[in-house]
Symmetry: C5
Subunit: 361 residues, 5 copies
């Protein structure tokens, strides 16, 4: 709950503060930023940890190689500023990197010939049973990719590093733009697994609702709806971003990679269609659940009515012969008592027949 | 239920696996792929089974003839890869062929001058009372059509093979593009029969709901809504696909076939309109059903109220004269007992009149 | 009900049958097709019945005159085929003529310089209280209009024939294109009368619902909604059709007639706006009706509660003094019995005051 | 109610009648048409009544002056025809003038260089508590404005006549196009006052609903929704009309007046936004009201339940000791009777505590 | 409540009054207008109060400096008119400045080379718990910004004045266009804080509703919905305004400022997305709340039913043995009384078991 709340306060800096000041906006974190540099080409791969951001200034870059600088942690302004200085990144870009509330956005900076992609990783936290959203930034320059991750605990780009190390496959043979694509593709692939979680949850609920075994169905449906809204916020801007990316030609993006990007675009639109159909399913499930609640109410009322209607006349008859009038001839009949029982039995049978006909029994 | 679930996990390959690897994504199947080659022109038709995919390499193609290669089964990577090799298909195309979760898509591969259509066959399974969706792929090259089907049990293209064999009709006289059209047209025609199923189901429910004879109406309406959502997912992309196909000119597509394609487009938009109107009907039927549930509740409550209101005062009166006070003059009157009965009768008549006026009886 | 069902099965031919085969698709009918030829110009009019379609081949057409061939009945393939042959109509056009499930469509056949309009006539059947939809086809060639009607019983073009005969008015002075317009205009005018029916029905219901006198309101609202959906299906495509017609210039359509066509377009958009506003009204009426059902329930419950709350304590008191304890001093008081009556009266008055304050009485 | 009904029958002429016949379509009226001619320029103003339409033929127009012909009453075909003749108006234009069901429309007649604006005046009738819609037509020719009003009772253009007479202000200094603008502006200004009425009504209802003091809330909300639908029908086409008017250049419309027209357009879009937000408010109020009805039901049920649950056990206990068994030891105990009262008191207290905990008391 | 009402009456002037008259439209206020002139460049800043608007005429402007004239109070026509005269503002612009009901609008006045931005400040009033909307106007001329604020109490531009005074930062180094941007940016930043308020409110409600602790949930949800509607009205037009501003090139707007404006546009679209997702959340919360009200009703009914069903048969049995028949053998049995208690106990246990199975206990 508190996460949602936090998601909006202080959207990028203090009210009235001058634009362009580098400030971290997001959850309070305290770990030290970790910088990793991967240098590769088809022939070799080399990974090095960079202990302090100051050492970045000493690096020299070989135009024959590809470079991938991965920064885990965006909360230290001096680190981000140093990276920005070394790679000549625009101040507005750095501001977006450090603002975890920035919505997904694509920008091209003409001066540095840089493509800037800021978007979100989603992960399902099984413990809190909620979606966790992580702020991601990827910058593509000529032979170099820079990625900024919010968290250090899980390195979501691990599989790609493994692929780079494993063999001289596509990723190593192609340029930095292919790596750029591979990173985006990985994140979009992750979205599918979130969809799977949501889909499974919907199905479990569906079964529970159909069997009327889930008293908290509305809460859960509401929870799914919130997750869908969260995903929508993350995924919808991506569609636009990639179509803008593909609409124009950029020097650092090869035709081949554009083809692969089109594939990513395809997947995003598939995700969006699924999101839409899940929304409709959830709405239908709500209707189904509410109709079942109504049905249950009907059954309760019906039961109460059957019982009341049977016992009220019987109790009335018993009351009649409990009266103390001096002259009540029935009381002195020899078969009076069994006769009353007979009448009562007849009444019960009559009403049972009536309820049968009404379909209440 | 389990089908729906399966429809989303592992959307095309393992998370983080390198793109472009040929992997079958779909239901587990075990039959052997079956390959059929139909060679035809206006003069003659020749059908041959190809027992092993390796034999495809030995085939030679006569440019004066049309060829239709139909592959039943897309789960064996080596078969798909061999077909791809022989006909020079793009790796991304083959990946889509083997991915049963791929959403409908049209692509033109400029290098091979191939049109690629991937879409879905829908069939209504009467036993499970659910829609079954089959992944279909059709590729059109110069004088050759290649079709991939997911299942082997039912050959949905049977009627077209029969037509080819039967007589030297339109299909045989025209080029491969006409065959390409005929296959798509057949699948779209199948959609109409699914619409008929849905329409019939809606009507049956409509009658049942109007006569208030279907206690499970909501479940069934929910089921129809799910089917409509499934159809929408299959049919909506087709509209766009065919309009993209018709927007540009392709060397292997004759003007005449384009005219027929426009006819298919027309049918698809008719299907989409029907889907939309079914959705509205289902929503209205839900309202109608819920209003009937409310009405039933009202009737039950009314009945309970009538009975309670009649017997409560009577029982009260009987209770009064069951009291044991020493001095209750009514008890000793000669006509006390009949008088009480009289009062009670008057009360019942009065209340009956009241309920009559309220319209409750 | 059965009409709706029929509206979808076998949308144009048998599944898998070769496209282009002339088959009648629609309700089973058995009357003989009737063909009427009207030959006119400003100076004279001449109507002749053509008993057998074969005689059409013997006709010769004078380019100085206008011809209107009206065919009542589209179920005989040989008749339709003969007309198609004589006037050189495209096979796809003839297929659409014979398919009563074809949705409204406009097409221009460049080879024959023919405009083809297929659309629907709607009539309100007062007996079955449902809309009846008839398939109509109008073809405009140079100096000639061909119209196909599904039914023979009612000739909806009667008023235009009467106008042609009556005087040398606009219709006779202008070319065949004006007649083409006049036929379409007549059908669109009919739509307004259907709107009137629906509007009247809505108003009657509105009054009944406001006065809470219509227990079957939901059924009727559902019926209206279905009628609105049917009209929508018929009218919506027309808007697009006429705007396509007006977007380009056709040799057989004069500027003057285009101006009149624009008037028709105007009316269609007025009809569509009305349809939309009726849909909203119907939705609001449903809300109103459901709220009244709720109110009625509230009233019933309130009544039951008032009665129960009044009689339960009274019955309890009566029960107390019906107990048989040896020592119950009240029973032996001289004014015990009247005192109990007094207490009961006080209770009733107290509760009446309470209910008054709560606004329940 | 009857007004709404009337609004649709016979939309412009008898079914099947020839187009272009001048017929009045609308409410039956019987007053005589009144024609007023205002002749003005910056220097002088001159108002004259024209008793019979025939006298219009005798008028001569000075190109140095502006003319405003205002016709009150559109039900006399001969008057409208005479005006049309004198000012050379197109027959289709005259047909629209006389058809009160014509939806708002803008047209430019190239032959006569006339701008034709047909739209609606709305007035709130406090007596019937409903909106009254009046058909208005304004034609702008070179130095001349012709206006047709449906009603004679209220002259809505009174303030403008007063302004013309009062001083040589903007209206008199500018051309006829400025007068044309001023008339439209006045009508749009009137719409704002209708919005005020609706807004006030919504607020009154809002307060009543929040305080749960309006049992007829649904009826009133339904009434407002109808009014909003009516306004929408009148105002929505205006937006399009004025944007079409401004898109092209017309000889009789000065740049200055176009600027003012843009202002009117601005107001119309403000009205449309308000209409939309009122619709949402009304929908929310319905939800609020229905939730209150539910709450009331809950309270009633709760009250009934509390009373039943308290008295049922008490009555049962009293019933036990009213039994006539020979051996019921409690009956002979000395403190039996007070003990029963004690048990009953304990029961009541216990249940009161239970209901307190459940929050029902 | 009364604020909403006031928001619509007399939208800009008296009905029928001549357009272009300067009249204040808004809440009645009585303070004196306050005028402040800030003169600055990178080197120095100078703030001066201008006690009477007449003194504005005596000012001389140095083209090497930037000027910011801030007017607090728009209710005095003579002040606004004087400012308009001195800075040569268009009369229509001044009319919009004085009309607090004017919806947000952007205009470019070609004659004076002025950009005119009229929009709204929103502030959350914690006391009345409602949004307060203030009318703002900003005009950008060559080296000069003029701002008009509705209120004098709070000066919302205070932080920017402070920044100007504090140091020779960006705002002072850049031209008047940057100041223009900074003012707009500040207002948009304020919107985020309103979003935070709404978001917090939604979350508090969410928690209360999930725990079923908020009986007034519907009122509060309705209140939030109204606030969202108000924000929408204020923010939606801004998106269009800024995109119009950025679409064309204006002489007084530097490329650098355009880049910053694009950033503002980005924020506005983020706000709009949030507004949309809040609307959906509120709708879902309503559903959740209504379902809980239903559940509560079900529980109450269930409880009533359980109690009634238990006590009705017991009371009936007690009634039986309270009858006074002469011959009722059970009454004389030695263990008659304990047997009755036994039967009753058995009944209660039986029913308890039944309710257990039904899941009602």
């Amino acid at each position: 709950m508190s996460k949602h709340k936090q998601a909006h306060n202080t959207h990028r800096r203090l009210l009235g503060a001058s634009p362009g000041t580098l400030t971290y906006v997001g959850r309070a974190v305290s770990f030290a930023t970790q910088i990793k540099l991967i240098e590769y080409n088809a022939a070799e791969v080399n990974i090095s940890q960079i202990p302090a951001s100051q050492q970045l200034r000493d690096l020299s870059f070989d135009p024959q190689k590809m470079y991938w600088l991965n920064v885990d942690g965006i909360h230290e302004p001096e680190v981000v500023a140093t990276v920005g200085e070394v790679f000549q990144l625009h101040p507005l870009l750095l501001e977006d990197v450090m603002n975890t509330h920035q919505k997904p956005k694509f920008e091209y900076f003409d001066t540095g010939k840089q493509l800037f992609f800021t978007f979100k990783m989603i992960e399902y936290n099984k413990q809190t049973q909620s979606l966790e959203i992580e702020h991601l930034n990827i910058i593509l320059a000529q032979n170099c990719v820079i990625s900024f991750q919010e968290e250090r605990k899980r390195d979501i780009f691990e599989p790609i590093i493994a692929r780079l190390l494993a063999s001289a496959g596509k990723t190593r043979k192609n340029g930095a733009d292919y790596l750029f694509y591979a990173l985006i593709d990985l994140v979009v692939d992750h979205y599918f697994s979130i969809l799977d979680c949501i889909s499974e949850h919907i199905e479990r609920l569906e079964e529970a609702i159909i069997n009327a075994k889930e008293p908290q169905a509305m809460h859960q449906l509401y929870g799914i709806k919130r997750e869908i809204l969260q995903m929508k916020k993350v995924v919808f801007p991506l569609r636009e971003m990639i179509s803008v990316l593909l609409r124009e030609e950029y020097p650092m993006l090869s035709d081949n990679t554009s083809l692969y990007m089109r594939d990513v675009q395809d997947h995003i639109s598939q995700i969006i269609e699924n999101i839409d159909s899940y929304r409709e399913l959830v709405a239908s499930l709500m209707d189904l659940h509410l109709s079942q609640v109504s049905n249950k109410m009907n059954n309760i009322m019906q039961f109460l009515t059957v019982i009341s209607v049977i016992f009220m006349p019987l109790t009335f008859i018993a009351g009649i012969y409990g009266m103390n009038f001096d002259e009540m001839p029935e009381l002195h009949w020899h078969y009076g008592y069994p006769a009353v029982w007979g009448i009562m039995l007849a009444l019960v049978l009559g009403m049972a027949w009536l309820f049968k006909r009404k379909g209440w029994l």
